[in-house]
């Protein structure tokens, strides 16, 4: 027997990882890019990279169970005759009937209403399920204009002009044939079963000057009653915010790249747009430069998961946050109880993102009646209500520890960053230093 020389262990490439190689093989086999739902899965600087300082000798805290810490926020105070008042600074983001089942839309409406907040329609029009079960409903005005009509505009509580979303700034929507049932097709004026593409640009305006006139038209149609939001994906937050203010928006909704979508190319989701953390300070700066901070409200979305995330977004200057993916998880999306079925679809709980295929075991991102019936809208709504309550309590806990009697009193000075990148993006000092990268010439 001869001794073999020692061998190095097989080494996997950091560049050509198993994930990367599996995508190359999939692309080579099919000739088409990968489409999926959700937001960016890559690691980007996020709220996890920030910490609150808490109270100390110079700042005194509020008593947790004795002293008030208010959470209400009013949106649309600039021009709307009927601004909307939310009990909590957390709203439900726009998600379409079509992408989601009717039951899921109903659950979102019920849960948001119990929590004292608003929910939002999506690309596909307003359904009776969500209007009936949502005390406060924001009606999205999208490039596709599916189902758009003046009656629904007037029975909405606010109007959100969607210019873009964080998962795909510059991209349109996509709803594949499996989900274009008769009802979905009817609402969208499309043939049943086709692969449907929603436009990426509005059909009747381009640029901020046109947008100003479009906002005027919508206000004239609705008697200047409704708050008008402008939603943009995280791309050029300073200028997009400034231009939205110039165009006459009451509220700006700013969605970072972790924000989800029903279906888009994976390459788009992972490679276009700014992380949420990098969006907030430039947007707030634009509002401050225009003297509009707190006059035009800023709603931030994209990867909000906990009361800590809410508190951090507010401390950086947002007036409220919006949740989509987290709300779906609260309803029951990606629940391990369906693990065997996720496995059968080639996925696993926590990773399932083929929402466009309409075969969601949790019955949320589907139009299949049997699957959709798995979601009880009343029970799912209660879970969402509980989750929103926990987030609010968490946010209040942090705010009181920082000595704030309203969550809006949180400020950047309450924060530090764990990484240089997060310090630069959030404009707060690196922990243990007074260094904010990019400020003061460094």
């Amino acid at each position: 027997m001869t001794d073999q020389p020692p061998r190095t262990q097989p080494r996997l490439s950091a560049t050509f990882t198993n994930d990367v190689n599996s995508e190359i093989r999939r692309a080579a086999a099919t000739g088409i890019y990968d489409i999926r739902g959700g937001g960016a899965k890559r690691r980007v600087p996020h709220f996890d990279d920030l910490l609150f300082l808490g109270a100390s000798i110079s700042r005194y805290p509020l008593e947790g169970y004795r002293e008030r810490c208010d959470t209400a926020v009013t949106l649309g105070t600039r021009f709307a005759k009927k601004p909307i008042r939310l009990d909590i600074p957390i709203t439900i983001a726009g998600m379409s009937f079509g992408a989601l089942s009717g039951q899921a839309k109903e659950a979102l409406g019920r849960g948001a209403t119990m929590a004292g907040t608003s929910t939002t329609t999506g690309d596909g029009g307003m359904t009776e399920e969500e209007r009936g079960h949502s005390k406060l409903l924001v009606y999205q005005y999208l490039p596709s204009r599916y189902g758009m009509n003046p009656d629904d505009l007037r029975r909405a509580d606010a109007i959100e002009i969607v210019v873009g979303q964080g998962a795909k700034p510059g991209g349109g929507g996509m709803l594949l044939g499996q989900k274009i049932t008769e009802r979905v097709a009817g609402m969208r004026d499309l043939p049943v079963g086709i692969d449907q593409r929603s436009a990426c640009r509005h059909p009747d305006w381009t640029g901020p000057d046109d947008l100003e006139i479009k906002i005027l038209e919508l206000r004239e149609i609705t008697g200047w009653e409704k708050p008008i939001y402008v939603k943009v994906g995280g791309a050029r937050p300073y200028y997009d915010t400034a231009l939205s203010v110039k165009a006459g928006a009451d509220v700006i909704v700013l969605d970072g790249m972790q924000g989800g979508t029903a279906a888009t190319q994976d390459v788009f989701i992972e490679n276009v747009g700014l992380p949420t953390l990098a969006c907030i300070r430039p947007a707030v700066q634009a509002l401050q430069d225009l003297g509009m901070h707190r006059k035009v409200q800023l709603v931030v979305s994209g990867g909000i998961r906990s009361g800590a995330d809410v508190a951090k977004a507010l401390a950086l200057g947002a007036d409220a946050v919006s949740i989509g993916t987290a709300a779906l998880v609260a309803l029951g999306d990606n629940d391990p109880r369906w693990e065997a079925e996720y496995n059968a679809l080639g996925s696993t709980a926590g990773a399932y993102d083929d929402w466009h295929e309409g075969r969601d075991p949790a019955g949320i991102t589907t139009q299949d009646p049997a699957l959709a019936s798995r979601l009880d809208p009343v029970e799912a709504a209660r879970r969402l209500r509980n989750y929103l309550a926990v987030m609010t309590l968490e946010c209040q806990t942090i705010a009181r520890a920082c000595g704030k009697s309203h969550v809006h009193n949180l400020e950047p000075e309450d924060l530090c960053a764990l990484t240089i990148e997060a310090a630069a993006m959030a404009g707060v000092p690196l922990a243990g230093t007074d260094w904010i990268p990019g400020r003061g010439g460094y």
Binding site: L153, L190, P191, D204, E217, E220
Partner: protein, 227 residues
Amino acid sequence: MQTIDMATTDLRSLNAMLQGQPQDTNETAWEVLNPRGAHALAVGLDAPIAVTVRGSTGYYCAGMNKQASVTVTGSAGPGVAENMMSGTVVIDGDASQYAGATGHGGLLVVKGNASSRCGISMKGIDIVVHGNVGHMSAFMAQKGNLVVLGDAGDALGDSLYEARLFVRGSVKSLGADCVEKEMRPEHLTLLAELLDRAGADARPEEFRRYGSARQLYHFKVDNASAY
């Protein structure tokens, strides 16, 4: 006849007055003077009234119209009758870009020419243009009928769905997935009725019909070069 002079009445008051008319109003005839290119004029109407605007309008005149008949004696700016649901809008002059965009119903008549993207994303509206239409007209058009008595510009009907396009003159080029189709008797009947409603002096037999080849309804990589 109720007359409103925009030299002395602001836009909000004008629209509120027109929008406030009940279904059974006796004041069914309205005249608007001195529009001077105002935007968002006579938008969101929802009663069987007739409004004549004497002059030219800016963006989105008669936007989201329901039931009302709106006539503009001059020309109309971008997005005239956008997202119209029902009723009739007649432009005696020319219409700028996106005329009848996303309209769900009703009839839009442009007696002059319409610019680019006429009928973009239309969802059931009927549009009759006595003159020419510009490029990318009926882009992603879903339902309804676009009738052009003159010529059509580049990329007519690009990526269209089930809308029907009728052109009497030349078509500079067809957009992706738009093809000429057979004119069957039911189309001639439909066209005759549309021409009659639009007061157009033309015979259905003079037109050609265009529609979707339906090759892009399902995404296939072999079609990638079509986009």
